[in-house]
């Protein structure tokens, strides 16, 4: 099997050296070069083409995202994994837009790194899980509540139903009696114009509540 040829681009020398040491232990990986900023990386690419680049976001001269955008335009076959200190939605989103293959936090473990490299080399992508955008979900939920005249409590019960909880489990969870949960459930169905529990579940799934 051919070794995966990797270039590391980061402005922190100690980080690069540490990463090189880590990857040295892996027989299937070969670090063929390192760069301290985006421009240096692009210079290297005129001489040699790696399979994958581990790219820091925050670098002088030419930052990681701009470098990534350029590389994706000129060398689309090279896989890119962003290594970043920042677990911020907008950066992950931007990285996705640019077309990088993975985004890994610098506080990840060696196993995470190796797994991400394998995934990406297997033509898959790997990004941190993004919390659903809170404002939007809230708005959506709010509209939904208004549309069907549902109370907070009823919305709560719907979200528990979505988790496949039984009336008894919902009752325990909300410190209510089963009878109360049943009453809420009947009211919900009446408001939504649904006749059966199955129809309710279907509604919840279809509306993706």
């Amino acid at each position: 099997m051919n070794k995966i040829k990797i270039i590391i681009a980061d402005d922190h020398t100690l980080f690069i050296n540490g990463l090189k040491l880590l990857l040295k232990e892996e027989p299937w990986i070969e670090v063929i070069d390192v760069a301290n900023d985006g421009k240096e990386l692009l210079d290297i690419l005129t001489r040699t083409i790696p399979d994958l680049i581990l790219l820091d976001i925050n670098m002088p001269v030419l930052n990681g995202l701009d470098t990534a955008r350029y590389i994706k335009q000129t060398h689309s076959a090279i896989k890119l994994i962003i290594l970043s200190t920042y677990n911020e939605d907008h950066l992950v989103d931007k990285a996705k837009q640019v077309g990088v293959n993975g985004y890994l936090l610098k506080n990840s473990s060696k196993e995470d790194l190796l797994q991400t490299i394998s995934l990406v080399m297997d033509n898959q992508s790997s990004f941190p899980y993004l919390e659903p955008k809170k404002e939007n979900t809230f708005d959506k939920e709010d509209n939904f509540l208004k549309q069907f005249n549902l109370t907070k409590r009823e919305a709560e019960i719907i979200s528990l139903l979505k988790n496949n909880m039984t009336n008894q489990q919902i009752a325990d969870h909300l410190f209510l009696s089963v009878y109360t949960v049943e009453t809420h459930r009947k009211n919900i169905m009446q408001k939504l114009g649904l006749k059966t529990p199955v129809a309710l579940m279907k509604f919840i799934i279809e509306k993706n509540l």
Partner: protein, 82 residues
């Protein structure tokens, strides 16, 4: 109204919801709050007793689900469509 009065006077609740839902052959009144719940003594207070009496008069049922996380009172009153 008796039930809302109770919420305001006794429950220490910060939120309450009052709703009347029309079903095919019954009317459901749900009064909820997130207050401290009804303790044993006041459960048999004059106010609630009165509510029960009036609901009974209409052939309805009164159910009270009360705990330290709040109270839900459900009143169901049957009716026949004219």
């Amino acid at each position: 109204m008796e039930l809302t009065n109770n919420i305001i006077k006794h429950s220490n609740a910060t939120e309450a919801a009052i709703q009347l839902v029309y079903h095919e052959n019954q009317l459901t009144l749900v009064v909820e709050d997130n207050g401290k719940g009804i303790n044993g003594n006041s459960n048999s207070g004059i106010g609630l007793k009165n509510v029960r009496l009036r609901v009974n008069f209409l052939n309805g049922s009164t159910d009270i689900d009360s705990g330290k996380n709040g109270t839900t009172i459900m009143i169901q009153i049957p009716f026949k469509e004219a």
